[in-house]
Subunit: 459 residues, 2 copies
């Protein structure tokens, strides 16, 4: 194991004494066995626990071949998916890829441009994307378990039609890749009939835990990241976090400490990073924790910030606002690129004392200075460090957060693997759209919306 | 006034009765007079209140000329700034511009590519940006009141040097545009000596209220947006919200309702939109409210989400998690682009009942369905509608939120115009970086950091 993810909880100590976490030891052990013996709530969705050692190696090879083919046949890959079928791939691609990936010339990038669509219902977004595609060859990877989720289904209708218009049905067939259920569903059926190459979303892995399945891996491979290394990192993390012993298991410590803080009314957790590339890793993390724990009137509210940018926007609040939050810092120890601060003849900006220092050194001191400042402001700080932003370490980090999330959800007393609250807006939307069979609900909802313009202030 | 911003609070009624807001009427009136007569806390930073009618018209003309010149002399504009010197311009450019602005060919875009830098200390980010600039001509707009803020100062050192290496000092002089203090400061001094064209950050307008000064307007003009229309929208909003009467003033109603909800323990406000273009408008809003109200242990925590994408990540939490939040929806009534859903021979995804409907129609029903779903989940919903995403309406919306923020901060009982909490991390950072004169603090901080690796679990 080439240097690993570390969890440092020493900066939470002023707020929650070690004895408090110790009291969770038995509960953590219990949660551990529920995960590994599949005896807890949501046990039918625990395929991710052993995935790093049980995944289908032939399918991984097939993904790499598909990625090569996509790279040869197209300038652009469109990834159609929402939620877990969007955020995982985006998180990894952004974290490992070039900050200006789609802007770079092909000669520098080598791999296709990648755009995500089907995660919103914005005609502006989709129409703008069509502008980009105008003179470009493109392939599609559509990702959906059922094939009937509204957002990706609309986008797939639209962009498949565009592709078929551009290159004909036969050639389009070669450029559409489907990631879906092994046997069932509208998308699986379509893929079989049309002859699209398809990849499997395992039955026992929910969307937010699916980044290391073809859901995430195919787009990640197209972006040029090393998916073998990603899986190797996850596999080493799995091994490292196999012990039920809280004292030995840093992954479980993260789960225990954040639960202790929650019980002391720290109801918001901010995931903060000092590398802009991590923006979507934080979005992935927000889904993972928010959707797993936000139920039955409970759960830590997951938020994120990008430092030092947001120290100049949310920094004031964190330092001195309402004391209902704690921070978890994602700390990258070694930067992949280095730049040195130059000396100026006249030291107008007062930075000559830094001449000859690397910019990353300044970034690290910003991290340390902020850690202590926020601590003094009454904000517990947890630190998750990774040695470097590589595929291996990112795979490790993903597994760390996934397993901690499972444990944490059980400590909270919820089913961490369902998401019943996502259905109501869909049901309302379908009724309002006039889907046959929902006429009564439609009338009822429309009546409730009527009240909108009454200004109660003037009533 | 061509159709205006509307505020609808009817979906907060189940949580807070109109009589409650009514009790704030006198306090709102008082806050109004504090703002307009400059008698409240922070009254020295109220220049933004009348800015839409008092701004320097000659400077506006000069900005438009500079924008044209930049467009002629360069392929790329680098905007160097942090906090309010970053988020305002970015918010407006993203909201009004093409979703894939920097990716589009110049022939479609017409105006220069625009990149923001100096809002982080990431060597990866800056080094990647240099990759983009390799074969491109670029200009710089550096924005800083003092010229000594670390992040933009480092970036300016780096990219000015790069520019001077590329085109020589004389030509670089023509391509650097400075936005800074009228008379004082390191950057002003440098601009005068080097002969850079400069624009003024007014003394009485703080960073987060500065988007309608040259801080925001110059980059916005370079991006091709209509800054006259932006100012006209703000001016009409200013006129509309001149009345101290809560019953007549929707801007003040927003301030009053959110304060009432806060007093009932709704301590998180999520600004949500259904257009991905609004992502950075929400970031701008988060700075505006978080930095203005997050002090003295108080204030609503500002968060944001992008629907429908985040309905598949944060949606579960919002629907069914801890009940400490409310939503403010940014609703755009008319979409700028239209796309229609096609009919398929075999209705596999079940969407044929929508064939012939516009995608934006579906987006609107998602909004309405979500509004009622979240309401039923116990989440008060406020709705701020704008007719269209145009410069005029965005100018209006900016002023709406700025003025509501001033009123809201006074209702909360804080100084909405200072940000003392931003200083501590800077002081710590400078000490840790070994800035001469801070030796003792350095030792002290380093000793505190030492504790990091002690694992208390094993202690």
């Amino acid at each position: 194991m080439k240097g690993t993810v570390c969890f440092d909880h020493s900066k939470a100590v002023p707020f929650t004494a070690p004895e408090e976490w110790g009291q969770l030891e038995a509960a953590v052990r219990h949660a551990h066995f529920m995960l590994h013996e599949k005896t807890g709530l949501g046990h039918e969705y625990l395929g991710w626990v052993d995935l790093p050692v049980t995944y289908d190696e032939t399918e991984l090879v097939r993904m790499k071949q598909a990625a090569t083919r996509i790279s040869q046949q197209s300038d652009v890959l469109l990834v159609i998916g929402i939620g877990g079928s969007y955020l995982g791939a985006r998180a990894v691609l952004d974290s490992l890829g070039h900050t200006f990936y789609n802007v770079l010339g092909k000669s520098k990038r080598q791999t296709p441009e990648i755009y995500f669509v089907g995660n919103n219902i914005s005609s502006v977004y989709m129409s703008h994307l069509m502008d980009v595609l105008e003179e470009k060859r493109f392939s599609i990877n559509v990702i959906s378990k059922s094939g009937t989720t509204t957002e990706p289904a609309i986008a797939f209708r639209l962009f498949r039609e565009l592709l078929e218009k551009k290159v004909g049905k036969d050639e389009a067939r070669q450029r559409i890749y489907v990631t879906t259920d092994r046997n069932r569903g509208a998308l699986k059926q379509l893929a079989d009939e049309a002859g699209y190459e398809s990849f499997v979303i395992p039955d026992d892995i929910g969307g937010r835990f699916s980044v290391l399945t073809p859901v995430g891996l195919l787009p990640i491979a197209v972006g040029g990241a090393d998916i073998d290394a990603l899986m190797a990192g996850a596999a080493d993390a799995r091994r490292r976090y196999l012990t039920p012993d809280l004292g030995e298991n840093e992954c479980y410590q993260y789960a225990a400490v954040r639960n202790t803080l929650y019980r002391k009314n720290k109801t918001i957790e901010m995931l903060v990073g000092y590398e802009p590339q991590l923006r979507f890793f934080a979005e992935w993390w927000k889904q993972l924790y928010g959707e797993s724990e936000g139920k039955n009137g409970r759960g830590i509210f997951p938020a994120s910030a990008e430092f030092s940018a947001d120290l100049h926007s949310l920094g004031q609040y964190i330092q001195d606002g309402m004391r209902h939050l704690f921070e978890t810092v994602l700390h990258v120890e070694r930067s992949q690129r280095e730049l040195v601060i130059g000396e100026e003849e006249v030291d107008r900006d007062g930075l000559n004392f830094l001449a000859g220092q690397s910019i990353d050194y300044v970034n690290k001191k910003a991290f340390e200075g902020t850690l202590l400042a926020h601590l003094d402001g009454g904000v517990p700080n947890l630190v998750v460090s990774i040695p470097e932003l590589t595929a291996y370490h990112l795979g490790w980090l993903i597994y760390f957060f996934e397993k901690a999330c499972g444990i944490s959800g059980y400590l909270l007393g919820v089913n961490p693997f369902d998401q019943p609250g996502v259905e109501l807006y869909k049901a309302n939307m379908f009724a309002l759209l006039g889907k046959p069979g929902h006429e009564e609900r439609k009338r009822e909802l429309e009546a409730r919306l009527q009240g909108r313009s009454d200004n109660v202030f003037n009533g």
